[in-house]
Subunit: 279 residues, 2 copies
C-alpha cells in the first residue's frame, strides 16, 4: 500500500448486505450506498419495507440494478387462542404478499417460540402452520425459507434449532419451501455435514455472522466476519460442496457496536472481511 | 396452610445438592446443612474440596451418612504446546485421584473448548485425551462422566454439545466412561429421545437446572426448577424410561440471585421445587 487513502476492497459479486447490519440507513439510503459501494444484492426487513412502501422499494431496487436476497420475516406462528392464531396467519400471508411485491428471493420464517413447555407439540404446530402457509406462498410464487436458529434461542425465538429439523419440516411442506442457512445458528452442529447433504436441493439462502465467545448480548451480540470462533471459509465451502446453492451470501450482523459505527465504514468492513475470511 | 411457620417440604430421597447451588457454604457447613435438611446426597467441586482436604471431606461425608454424586471437574484438555498438554493430563489424573479419595460416584469432564476454529480437530483431540485418561481412571476405579454442554458454550467451554456426541466418545473410550445428563444443556435437542436410548447403559449422573429465556448471564443465568422453559418432569421421565439410570438427581444452579440468598432458604426451595416439578 502506498500513500493516500487505503484502497477499498472490491465487493465480491456474491455478497449481499442485510439491512440489519446497517439499521440506521433507510431503504432509499441503503440502496444508494450499496449500489455506490458495488454491492449487487441486499436483504430487507418488513418494518422498513413498510415505511418506504413495497412498490417504492421494488422501483428503487430495479432502478439501482440490485437483487433482494431475502425478506425477514414471517413466522411466530404459535398462539394461545384461535383469533390470535388467525391474526398470525393473516400477517404471514401479508408477508408473502410483500415478498412477492418487492421480488425477494425468499421469505424468512422464524419457527417459534413455544408458548409453554411442550416442545414436541410446538414443533408439530410449527410444521402444520408452515404447511398451511406454503399453499398460499406457492400460489403467490414466493419461496419460504425456514431458518433453524441456534439452540440459544429455543426458549424465546425458535423451536427449530437444527438444520435437520428445518429440512424435515420443509420437505413435509412441499415444493417452494426451503431452508435458510446462517453460520451463527449452525456452526456448532456436530452433524452439520450430514444435515447439509440432506438439504442439498432446499437451500433458499445463506447468511453469515461470526460467533463471539461469549456473545456480548443475547440478540445483538453477533460478530463481524473473522472476529469470532467460526471457520467461515469452511462453512461456505461445505455449503458449496454439499448443496446445490450457488446464490448470494448475505452478511447479517446484529451488534450494537457495529450499529453505532458509520454505515459507510461498515459497508467497507463487510466487503473487506468477506474477502479475507471467505472470498 | 394454617398459622405458624410454613411446613417444610420433605427432601426427596433422590435429591442431591450440588454445592455450586449454595457456593457460600464451605464443605463442612454444606454437609451439616444438607444432613440437617434431610438431603442424602451432595455434588462437590474440586476447588472447595482442596480447601477442606479430600481426606477430611471423605471423613465428614461418611460421618454424616451422605453420598457424593459427582466431583466437578476435569477436562479442559486442549493445549497449544506439549508442556501445557502434559500439565493438563497431570491435573486430570489428580482430579481422578481426588474423586477416588472422596468416593465420588463420577468425575465430570468439560470437553473443550477448541483453541482455534477447527471443531473437527478439537473434537478428535478431546476423544483422544479422554481415552488416555480413561486408562488411569479404570486403574483407580473412578467413573468418568462426559458432560455434553449447551451449544451456547461451544465457543468457550465445550466442543461436545450433544448427548449423541458424548455417547460416541464415551463408548470409544471403553468401560468406566459414561455421560452426565443436565437438563440445562440438553433440553433443546430435537433428538433427545433417540440420544437417551443410545446412552442407556452409560448414564453416570443426572443434573437439573431450568432455562431462563433469555438467560440473564452467560454462565450464571440458570433458573430454579419451575422458573424457566424446561419440562423437567418429562426430562426426568425420559431418562427413567429410556436409560438404566436410577441414581440420585443433582440440582446445580449457577445463578447470582440464588447465590445471594440465604443458603437455608435455597436448600428449602430446591426441595420444594423438586417436589412440585419432578417428584
Amino acid at each position: 500500500m502506498t500513500t493516500g487513502s487505503p484502497a477499498r476492497t472490491p465487493v465480491d459479486a456474491r455478497l449481499s448486505m442485510n439491512q440489519r447490519t446497517v439499521p440506521s440507513l433507510s431503504i432509499p439510503a441503503l440502496i444508494e450506498a450499496c449500489a455506490r459501494h458495488g454491492y449487487r444484492h441486499i436483504g430487507l426487513w418488513r418494518e422498513p419495507v413498510a415505511v418506504t412502501g413495497p412498490a417504492e422499494v421494488a422501483r428503487l431496487v430495479a432502478t439501482a440494478g440490485l437483487r433482494i436476497t431475502s425478506l425477514c420475516r414471517g413466522g411466530w406462528f404459535l398462539a394461545t387462542d384461535a383469533p390470535t392464531r388467525r391474526e398470525r396467519e393473516d400477517d404471514n400471508r401479508r408477508a408473502v404478499d410483500e415478498a412477492a411485491e418487492i421480488g425477494a428471493d425468499c421469505l424468512v420464517l422464524v419457527c417459534g417460540p413455544a408458548l409453554g413447555k411442550d416442545l414436541v407439540s410446538a414443533r408439530r404446530q410449527v410444521a402444520d402452520a408452515i404447511a398451511l402457509l406454503a399453499d398460499y406462498a406457492r400460489e403467490m410464487g414466493v419461496r419460504l425459507a425456514l431458518e433453524p436458529m441456534h439452540p440459544l434461542y429455543c426458549g424465546d425465538r425458535s423451536v427449530v434449532v437444527t438444520l435437520a429439523q428445518a429440512t424435515a419440516i420443509a420437505r413435509g411442506a412441499g415444493p417452494g419451501v426451503g431452508v435458510l442457512l446462517d453460520s451463527y445458528h449452525l456452526w456448532w452442529d456436530p452433524d452439520l455435514e450430514a444435515a447439509l447433504a440432506g438439504a442439498t436441493d432446499l437451500v433458499a439462502g445463506l447468511q453469515l455472522a461470526d460467533w463471539l465467545a461469549p456473545p456480548p448480548h443475547h440478540l445483538n451480540g453477533r460478530g463481524m466476519l473473522g472476529e469470532g470462533t467460526i471457520d467461515l471459509r469452511r462453512f461456505c465451502r461445505l455449503v458449496e460442496e454439499l448443496t446445490e446453492y450457488e446464490g448470494p451470501i448475505e452478511v447479517e450482523i446484529f451488534n450494537e457496536d457495529i450499529w453505532a459505527a458509520d454505515p459507510e465504514l461498515v459497508l467497507q468492513r463487510v466487503a473487506a472481511s468477506f474477502s479475507s475470511e471467505v472470498g
